[in-house]
Structures are given as structure tokens and as C-alpha cells.
């Protein structure tokens, strides 16, 4: 899967939980999921579970802990799919 395609799917999933809707359109790989997009930390579990369903991967807790930015998520998913 092309990286920009993964980015689009990741943003679609994160967008479901982002409280800062204005920041979604301008998001880049450097955008911080919690701080910039205002995703509630308890919702990160939902985001990870949605990644697992969407991409048919398994994300363990250590992998999930390393995700801070949208780019971190894209990189993690790309690595799992490789």
C-alpha cells in the first residue's frame, strides 16, 4: 500500500475521535494525535483497535506506546504490512 494511501486511512480513523475537527484537514505526518488533534487518551485504545480491524494487523502494547504522531502510526502500520 502506498504511504499516502495508508496516511489517508489512518486520518480517517483518527478523525472519528479527534475533538479538534479544524486540525484534521491540515494534518501532516508530524501532527501529534493527542495534543494537536485533541484525541482523548482513553480513545487511543479505540484508534489502535480500529487500525487492527482496518489493516488486519496486530498491534501490541509496546508498539502502541510508541505512537505519538500520525506519521508514527503510518510507519507502524507500513512495517506490519511489509
Amino acid at each position: 500500500m502506498a504511504r499516502d494511501e495508508t496516511f489517508g486511512k489512518v486520518m480517517e480513523i483518527i478523525g472519528r475521535y479527534a475533538k479538534n475537527k479544524d486540525a484534521i484537514d491540515g494534518a501532516t505526518e508530524d501532527t501529534n494525535i493527542l495534543e494537536d488533534l485533541k484525541v482523548n487518551s482513553a480513545r487511543l485504545v479505540d484508534v489502535i483497535l480500529d487500525f487492527e480491524d482496518e489493516f488486519d494487523i496486530e498491534v501490541d502494547d509496546e508498539d502502541a506506546d510508541a505512537v505519538n504522531t500520525v506519521g508514527d502510526a503510518v510507519t507502524l502500520i507500513e512495517a506490519k504490512l511489509a
Binding site: A42, R43, L44, V45, I48
Partner: protein
Amino acid sequence: MALAALAGGKARGMTGAALHPDQILDLLPQKEPFRFVDEIVEVSKRGIVAHYTFPPDLDFYRGHFPGNPVTPGVILLECIAQVGVVALGIYLVALEGGLDAVDSRLSLFADADVDFSGVVRPGDRVTVTATKKFFRRGKLRSEAEMHLDDGTLVCSATISGIAVPR
């Protein structure tokens, strides 16, 4: 509660303790006058069933509503949360990490999607049946229903809580 104390002593410090329903009630942090669970009928890693009877003398009935007491929906949701998230969560946490893990965490309300379809009057007994959807990274989501003794569905909810350090 001697039985719970005995079993609690046995379970403390061990990992993977399957708690007895009476132990879970003892550990439930919500106490009088904000305890909306009387009895846990069954509990497993898949789900939980519990009863609560709403005492007619609960203070909020005076205002909700004068002359026409109805149990507030937020209280029904709290009842479901205490059973389907907090009590089940205590069981699941103890199953993984024993009573020490339970002692070090507090379960907070995270999110809910809820439908109300009936009315609970003072004195009514309700049964809450909750099934685990997932328990990951300290977050528990359950699908739950509340029924009256005559079988009427009064509330259905998808509800989540997250365990945080105390």
C-alpha cells in the same frame, strides 16, 4: 464478610486470582449512597450479571419528579457502569494481576452510547447483563442491557471505562 476475607487472603499477592462475587462487591469503590449494585449473580471473563433494587426512599425521587418518582436515566447508566465496567473490570484486573493490581487502580468512566426504552420506578428490581467487548491497555468496553423483573428492557448501552493509577 468472613468468606470474602478468607478468599481475599488467599488471593492477595498471587497473580491470576478469580474473585468470588462477594469479594468484588467488597472491592467496588462506589459506596453508600452511590452504590447501585446489590448482588452479583454470575461473573466470568466473558461478562457479568447483577441485580439492584432501587430503594423507594432514595433522596433524588423527591425532585425527579415531585409526585411522580422516576429513576433518572443517568442513575440507570451509573448502575450499568458499576456492574458492566467497574465490577467486571475488578474481576478482569484480578484475573491478570491479583488483588494488588486491583488496589493500585481506579476505574473511570470513558465513553458510552446509550438508549433508554423503559421507566424504573421506586422499589423496582433491575437485572444488568453485560458482555465484554474488549479489555485492552486498561480499557474495558462492555455491551449491557438492563431489564425489569417482568422482562421489560429499560436500557441498553455500550459503555467503557479505563483503569488509571490511584
